[in-house]
Amino acid sequence: MNLASISPILLLASLMVAATPILLAGIGELVTERAGVLNLGVEGMMITGAIFGFAIAVETQSATLGFIAAAIAGAALSLLFGLLTQYLLSNQVATGLALTLFGLGLSALLGQGYVGIKGVDVSKIHIPLLSDIPVAGPILFQHDLMVYVAILIVAVVWATLKFSRIGLILRAVGENHEAAHALGYKVIRIRLMAIAFGGACAGLGGAYLSLVRVPQWTEGMTAGAGWIALALVVFASWKPWRVLIGAYLFGGLTVLQLNLQAAGMKVPVEYLSMSPYLITILVLVIMSSGRGRAHLNAPAELGRSFHASS
């Protein structure tokens, strides 16, 4: 094994790229869950976003249009979930699982003509001065725009939830939908908006996988990223900045295990590939065993259907 072949700068630089898909999907799901809706279809929305993003980008030769299409596709699929759970009052867990399976199937069907095609180039930004700083430059300031857009989304979500009235209403709906309804807020409409935002973010995350991280289309390419994003929200105890920390942690693990594989570590590859998921399970167990803070932060109405009675 040759550990010296791992460059710490490259490792840290690729960490931000590896973390971006789950960061995007995670922050979207966080908003959905803060409104009291548990959408387990993140994986399905991500992969739908991945194929739509890739297809549109290839057809138009524009990565930007690809990302926009991915966001729209993710939001559209999530609104299907919204229609089923909010108006037809179907079970959120079952519907979310179905959405994942549906998304995987749909993307495989749509993606048949795109297997093995080369994607479009997504240019990396170059900021004068900042990008040229030794060490910090390559790690922080030489990525594509989406990496920074993702961080910006986290910041906007945080500020909105904390300071704005619409954020307060969103939290109120997730906390006690009966009371919110009694005060005259439109619970279902607010939840649908949150669901659509979550879907759009998941779509962006999927498109980032197929357009930047891989970059090509293969069937089932999200490979559980959506589930990690779901775990991330619990790990972050529904707080935006902690989603960022968690995403970088998981992203770091993914990159590290790839690097260890490349360095020829004498452990079967399967164990290394398992590690991010094992850590996810471990974190979830630790978070839910402590009866204190993590429970307190969970939105009280998470996963409960609202139906205005009388």
């Binding site: 009235r165 109120a172 006690n176 009966e178 009371a179 009694a182 429970h295 009280a300 009388s310």
Partner: protein, 524 residues
Amino acid sequence: MTDLLTIQRLTKAYPGVVANDDVSFSIAPGEIHALLGENGAGKSTLVKMIYGLVKPDSGTMALHGAPFSPAEPRAARAAGVAMVFQHFSLFEALNVAENVGLGMENPPPIRELAREIREVSHAYGLPLDPRRLVGDLSAGERQRVEIIRCLLQDPKLLIMDEPTSVLTPQEVEILFATLNKLKSEGTAILYISHKLEEIRALCQGATILRRGKVVGACDPRQASAAELAEMMVGEALHTPDRPPSEAGKVVLQVAGLTSESVSTFGTRLQNIGFEVRAGEVLGIGGVAGNGQDELLSALSGETMGASETVRLRGEPIGHLPPNPRRTRGMLSAPEERLGHAAAPDMSLVDNAVLSGWQREDLTRGGFVRWGRARAFADKIISTFDVRTPGAHVAARALSGGNLQKFVIGREILQRPDVLVVNQPTWGVDAAAAAAIRQALLDLAGAGAAVIVISQDLDELMEVSDRFAALNAGHLSAPRPARGLTMEQIGLMLGGAHDMDVAHTEEAEHIKETYQDSHHEETRP
């Protein structure tokens, strides 16, 4: 003087039931008007229509003489109607200021709002810290949040739905002082309650509803409580009589009982100890959220602790789960009828089996003996006059009173040595409540030890031999119930939690400055 709010021929029907049938009445400015009626009489539906939550099928409302038909609560609030809900419309994980802000149309920035909350709440004798999480507040304090939320909008009409059901007697007095002060400022108050003495002390007019219809109107200061009760119920009420019984040997001993809270914002029990004798009713009073649920679950066996904390006839059982306790004769009925005492979507037979299979021998070799189970359910239904089409009906389909009679009857028919009930008559109509109380007294008369946990002090005074108060997880020493005054009970319940009586001059001053600053803000 013209009336503030006039309601004419309001009707609202739901599938299978007419909630309001041709209801008319009016309220003058500065009047405290009572809306009196039993549970299910249609009081809540009526005020929901005034507040814009429910649309009437027919009929008209007029506010200040102008037609008034709010499409949503926002419109009602804009017109000067504010409401304090029975089940608080509060958000536990948000702080006081955020909760108040959510109920306002155009709330000022949160810092400004916090200052206003502090000032107005002190002026009206209801001090509140705007930064505290609502989940950490007592029931009385939560109600203050609701009231302050209304007051900050300068309402012309304030609707209060059963406001005193969660307050200690001292807190009730302070609330009344606040309401009288509001009245003197010209605010009209629509006061919903079924507590007759309160209404006689507070209100100038009363409209009495029964089964959705107005059955009478009167000046409650002139009428006697018995007259009001008869109008409300439609028949003279039977007050339970207590068969004289000798207190027997100690059956249940509880000592050093300390437990974790059952929910996030629950209360821990702190070193609770008491004894109950055979043939005795121990009443445990207290405002909701002071450890009632925790105490019931510690006694029923849902939460287990050290074995010596609970002793039944000397035998330590504190470590045993519910079923072994049941076989030993210690039964319980929790507060929440649907979902805790009974499985909502299962039939009454199923629900009878779930609790009675051991003591009534309803299973054999792992199979349910449905014949016996059906007979047991039928026996409960006939003995306790449960009004239902049959035992095959789902628990959810029964009205609150009937299901409560079933749940309590199910435990009583298992011949318990100790029966623990929490809020046995909560949300139950007066006739059913009287029947349940009578059944509990008969059970004690037959030699069982009964523990009644309740927030209804009148009920406790009616049934208990001894009374103890639960306050913040602590249980006071039990005292003989006969001869206790409301004031003594109030002090046992912890009195008023840091409330001061409304300070009139200060209130005036603050209100003026507050309004001035508001008008300036709204000017273009």
